[in-house]
Symmetry: D2
Subunit: 342 residues, 4 copies
């Protein structure tokens, strides 16, 4: 189906990035620069991730007008892993409202040295971007939103929602990863039981099902192309730029972007917010969702990770992006003049 939004705007010459061809040249240059990086190690706690190909490297861009550009391994599927966290959080906000969600999970970074401390001073997980918070968000989706659904039904229901964020592109599921994650998840079970001890979950939560549901969300598969559309939907206030469907309310998007900004890059989040200043979320499969609000969504994918768990090539790409363009949240529009305003 032709992208109606794109065509309409094209006729009006009202694109957010007027000279897209020029912009593509920059992206290509940045792609090739990052490709030469050989730093990092692939995640190895489960065999499926340990077998990842270090050479894989893809970048997909989707503007809020629906203009798209992709380069590299953009159609190779990877598991969402932690990139599912902003998605389940967004869905929970949309279905249950921010007041219900934040009755159970906080809104603040946990502070860099204290990832051992699972719960904040209110005895809630610090935010939905860390494992404890994401497990809790899964329990909300499982227990409070359509509680009558079986786990299988709930999984389909959530996957359909994610698919709407991606312009109805189909997501996959990697069952081997799911089974391995479930097996290797000592830390997550520890978090899960610890939170149950502290009565963090809504009543009637079945911890075992909730954990399975969490691992299933982490084990969904997509690729750079698909994920860039999701990021673009977030950049566009919740309206998918491909389908023009309103998937999320603006206030849900605002909350998701706020927490991706402050908490999306593991223990590097604070420095990333300072240096790059864009909402982003990384996952151990090497994927990175990057949102340039009101402009575009980007997805990069490259399995080798730095010691904090972020994709080495993805990080390098982001830092270069912010050097070339006035995308940092606090770049001044008028006076950061050595930077391009694409």
């Amino acid at each position: 189906a032709p992208n109606i939004v794109l065509i309409t705007r094209a006729f009006r010459s009202q694109f957010v990035i007027p000279d897209f061809q020029d912009f593509i040249k920059d992206i290509e240059e940045m792609y090739w620069t990052a490709k030469s990086i050989t730093d990092g190690k692939v995640a190895s706690y489960i065999p499926q991730l340990a077998r990842a190909n270090c050479d894989n490297w893809g970048v997909s861009v989707c503007t809020i007008d629906g203009q798209r550009f992709s380069i590299g391994d953009v159609n190779v599927p990877f598991t969402l892993q932690s990139c599912s966290k902003p998605l389940t959080y967004a869905m929970a906000l949309e279905m249950l409202g921010p007041d219900v969600v934040h009755q159970y999970v906080g809104t603040e970074p946990s502070g860099r040295n204290f990832n051992e401390l699972v719960l904040d001073h209110n005895m809630k997980p610090h935010n939905p971007m860390i494992n404890a918070g994401a497990i809790l968000v899964c329990s909300l989706l499982k227990t409070l939103d359509k509680p009558e659904m079986t786990l299988a039904e709930k999984f389909d229901y959530v996957m359909s929602f994610f698919s709407r964020l991606a312009g109805h592109e189909a997501l996959g599921f990697n069952n081997a990863v799911f089974l391995s994650e479930r097996e290797a998840a000592d830390r997550n079970y520890a978090l899960g039981f610890y939170m149950r001890e502290h009565k963090c979950y809504p009543e009637k939560t079945n911890l075992r099902e909730c954990m399975d549901f969490y691992f299933q969300c982490c084990s969904m598969e997509a690729n750079c192309d698909i994920m860039s559309i999701m990021a673009a939907t977030l950049a566009n206030g919740g309206i998918c730029p491909i389908t023009d469907e309103k998937v999320l309310r603006p206030d849900s998007v605002r909350n998701v972007l706020s927490l991706m900004h402050s908490c999306g890059m593991y223990d590097y989040s604070g420095q990333f917010a300072f240096k790059v200043g864009l909402p982003a979320k990384s996952g151990v499969s090497g994927a990175m969702l990057i949102v340039v609000p009101n402009v575009m969504g980007i997805c990069t994918w490259s399995p080798p990770l730095d010691p904090l768990g972020n994709s080495c090539r993805g990080l390098q790409f982001c830092e270069e992006l912010i050097k070339r363009f006035n995308f940092h949240k606090y770049d001044n529009i008028r006076y950061a003049s050595h930077k391009k305003d694409p």
Copy 2:
């Protein structure tokens, strides 16, 4: 002297807030709503602050075009206190460059529960917006920038710089507050010595002078009108909208705004970033600097503080501001349509 920038733009009708009169009406309503609040207690650790008048309440606005509006006690002087922190940080960035500054002080929030931990995992203060970091920034200004100056000369030099941020309005100094702060500062001396133990300061730092310098910066006086111009200079990429003088580089401003965003409101910083999404800095005198990047600077002042040390009326004003206008960093420009785009 007439504001040339203002007049020029007025002729061109290119103001960032086209209907300023309409905008003023909102500000006035918000002012009167906040005025009725009687929550909070004035700071009491020194007598000068304890004697503050709870009724004082002022709001000043200055757009990046130089349009201004003030209401309430906007000419009553107050001491800068922690509102001096983004100013000394900005000056240090400008004079010494970000690489030198961040060799000594971090760029991340410290995490809410752990304000007791003075230093981050690199044995640096977490950021320049907390006391430890601000003391360190003062040591940088004292020891690395024009080290030949006496303490008196350095004080004048810094005050002149702050004045340029405020369109050359004159700042005052409250000696009684300075002497009291110095006397009551057990925590700050503890921080100061602790950092010296850990060799945080540049070589040749004289701790006693550095502490005095810090207390002097906290004891400078200004009012809402003056501070709103400073905030507007930050909103305007470092160029003072009143004088058109380029006081700060865009990258210095970017760094200041990033850290005001994540660390400016004491232990409420995380929640403020989530809810309000604007760079701001509060001080125990009841002042609050608020920056709407590319739009305007705001200063509110009201002495009664909430338990975390932020001005009760100031906080209420900010939350109302973000309800009415699409100023939250992650408000979508196109689709947050129930909000005004002033």
Copy 3:
């Protein structure tokens, strides 16, 4: 069978407490004083403990000569709970040696405020008297000592060992408590998985079996009379004063007593060591094992607990004991003259 040791010594009039009748009078007085206490609440996390009778109160004494005295509810069975920790630790020391055991678990108190921190700086549980350490000790007994045994065989094997500490008195098992403990044990599962994440266990450990084994040890039943013999065996350098059987090596006993001394009374351990100065271990069933080295073993039992989890009547009994007798580890033998040397 007559107690040969007792008889032999009686003939020689060489008892450690020459005037046992006089000593009994003190114990009786202390018993009745403590009986009037109505403070504390019974543990309520499982129904079996919540149904405990607050009036139950028993005290049993067994000297290293085998002289015995009991008063109150000394034959009512209770579950060992945390009183099993010094016993499994003693058995592990005996079977595997201190070097193997302390390769996996530390020897120091964890510090009062930091019970949340499961592991010490070597990534081992702090000591065998806290849950994490006791779970680990169970994994050692299960995995390293006679690994060919089934879980059922291992349970019998351990229970027999405990019985030897108690002069071959028979211990019981409360299956309802076991099932409830296993169900309610969120914290313990969290600890268990957290330690597996950090590779704390010996290779080939089956976590599920190890946890079950731990809960089974906690669910063994004994009474004051039986437990006082165990305490006396510890007081007597590992030789049971009833059977004269050498159950533990002196160095095993030394290690057990050292850690009961510093870590046996939950978060009250530090204060108990300071005030009472005797090795002791309490459990949530209200039992308390108390060792007066080279003199006697004592067991008290009363279900109501103080907020830190120690039996209220038991604590009161200990404090009175140390007021009357020179039993504090650092009571001077010659000059603490206002105290009795029984």
Copy 4:
């Protein structure tokens, strides 16, 4: 003056160590074994300590009967440093009583990893054996006991008291060390101010004087011979075995020994209590006070320290001591038969 006690007991042949000549042979062997150790580094934070001679090594023993033996550099003076902590604590207990003292300072180890946390959950220093607690004990001696004394008078008063613990042997004072300590004491000033912020001191405390007093106590000088008498006084329930003077009450001694036992060896305290099981206190000058309750006091001195701040040769000596003799607190009297009972 002849030691009356010694002579009297000698006539009665009632010495605690009947064959002292045999015991001396063991001590000599242990002395020579430890002498060959070349591990460790002398403290270097002040020049006076950095110049210490690594070869110095002395051991002095004084039994509760007043029998004495010395070998090596037992007359070379060294500064007390942290070995003054049990002495000021003992004096505070004696003069002010345990209730007053422990209203201001705790009775528990702080836990190994958390020496950064100055105060316990009651906002008191954890115990009198760490710097924060010892500074506070100095403030008690200065402010609550004979507050009318000048600092000079108070110093003489305290030094006289210490001298009584040492059989009236004269202590010295190293002014160069005092001045250097005061200069280099960033951490201690940080602690001092931090505690003042938290209102830890008694009213009317002059922090500057209190800190000076603390540094002066650390800068007193003694030698192995003198310190072994102090240790013997502690071993003997507070009665000096040389003069038969009652210097401390038995309950004061009990408290001092309890906290030396649990907190006397810096971050090694927990392991030392487990392995050696004797009350001891080490200082950065390389001295170590060791108390064998009811038997003897020992002082060892050797400047090279291990990374935790304890004398390498001193530690080795203690471990050997406990291997040869049944001195560990929980060594069984009857059955630890491979060990000597001297």
